[in-house]
Amino acid sequence: MGMTLAQKVLAQTSGKPTVLPGEIVDAYPDLVMSHLASWRSIRQLEQVGVDRLYDLNRIAVVLDHRSPARTPEDAGHHQLIREFVKRHGIPVYYDVHEGIAHLVLMERGHVLPGMLILGTDSHSTIYGALGAFGTGVGFTEVTSVWLTGCVWMKVPESVRVVITGRFPPAVFGKDLMLALIGQLTANGCTYKSVEFTGDLVANLSISERMTFCNLAMELGAKCAFVPADAVTEAYLAGRAKRPYELLRPDPDAPYARQVTVDASALTPMVSCPHQVDNAKPITAVQGTRIHQAFLGSCANAKYEDLEVAAGILKGRRVHPDVRLIVTPGSREIYLQAMRSGALQTLVEAGAMLTNPGCGACAGDGGSLGDGEVCLSTANRNFLGRMGSRTSQIYLSSPATLAASAIKGVIADPREFLA
């Protein structure tokens, strides 16, 4: 029997010809990403008393969750990390000005098809947008992999999501994912690998593939993939740090489940408080008053996302009772949107522009007060995540966010994009 992408990557990185779902293997990850949590691993190394790392070229450190430093404690953690990176000569390092780790590592060509990548961030599933096996781990594990190069991995079963049809106007990858999470539930793919395939996926941009694989985490997934293809190659041209192969699943690979989605039948979706799988069509929640709109996060603060929002906000004004916070995902995105004029359009409309990074999604600025409502393009809406325990978070696409920022209430983007 053939292998799924998850099986292939784990076979390859554990030195075995084949692996089966359920098997536990000792794998050697190609890259271990750690963000601000790196300081905890550095402290653990000091405790262990070992300073020799397994392979510096497999380590990536990116400072993103609280950037620039919010407090003297943050600044101290940053100092500790910079000193550590310098002392060891860790080549892949991006400081507080670069943006969200996931996006930066993909833009800079460190993420390639078929790689096994661990990250101290649950949304590491996003690396599947380029055909890599990305999965979240804790800092204790990062310390261990820094030292041994090795990690235990249970080979996951795979779920195949076949997407057919075309997106209707004002419907995007985010809407599809919110609908899928609503259908399968937040627990629907726990411990599993999700492979996206079908006609729609074949022509989908890397930006939208990132949204797919990022949001797959909210299905409980261990990893998610869009199998690498010509679109992947085009994105990686001029970026890839080394040669790579287009790893594809075998035609007879075993899938625990297959789900088919007809994109043509979708409408704009909103995920309601306080769970991501509490997803509803826009018509069920439109008119809900909002106080803050956050265009940011590794889910939807890419260049395409900023362009879509700017397209709707051009020549219009953000509602006077709404604070629109725009946090571009990375410095590259920031520059691109600066050159295209999207940033100017957004700021002219009344948006507040912050530095690239995780921003309000990670509770770094943009806190919500008692009873306040935020519409966000991020990937999580759990109780109290962005501030007060009595605040509420709704999740949507950048288009729905822009339409709502204008209206002051959750609004249907089809009015602007029909």
Partner: protein
């Protein structure tokens, strides 16, 4: 060494408890003892006021979803809790708990068979939960031998030390 046999009072929470509710963002950089004073405060405020060393936390499906937040199991351990038994766990928490040697046990059906305040006797190795108050025994899913070894050692780093830096899965 982690104790793999735990006996104590049952504390219950529901489905889909996010790590945000275990350690709120505002407390992420505080010492574990300080984090422990606020664990689950938004969903079960009495928990931190009454929990005693060796008590048992029982949760529904998909416990500790949301951010990986590897401090979450550490904060839970700092409350004195001896074991977490849940219908199911989010995968990052499942790894993170084993790695710091916090015993956890997957036990489908558990929430129907125990009540808050019941006296529970949990045998992690055997995968058994005994409800001493109701006189019932519930079969759980024992961790695979490799993870049992890690729990016995007291976590990932202790485990690697025992095995000369090598995994033996």
């Amino acid at each position: 060494m982690s104790a793999l046999r735990v006996r104590g009072r049952c504390w219950k929470v529901g489905d889909n408890i996010p790590t945000d509710a275990i350690v709120a963002t505002a407390n992420l950089f505080k010492p574990y003892e300080e984090m422990a004073r606020h664990v689950l405060a938004s969903v079960h405020p009495e928990f931190v006021l009454g929990v005693k060393p060796g008590d048992v936390l029982v949760a529904g499906r998909h416990f500790a979803c949301s951010s990986g937040r590897a401090v979450a199991p550490k904060a839970l351990r700092a409350t004195g809790i001896g074991v977490v038994v849940a219908e199911s766990f989010a995968r990052t928490f499942y790894r993170n708990a084993h790695e710091i040697g916090l015993p956890i046990l997957e036990c489908p059906g558990i929430t129907e068979q125990v009540r808050e305040g019941d006296e529970l006797d949990v045998d992690v190795e055997a995968g058994l939960v005994r409800n001493l108050t109701l006189g019932q025994t519930i079969q759980a899913v024992p961790p695979p031998p490799f993870l049992r070894g890690m729990l016995k050692a007291g976590g990932l780093h202790a485990y690697l030390e025992l095995h000369g830096g090598e995994f033996v899965s």
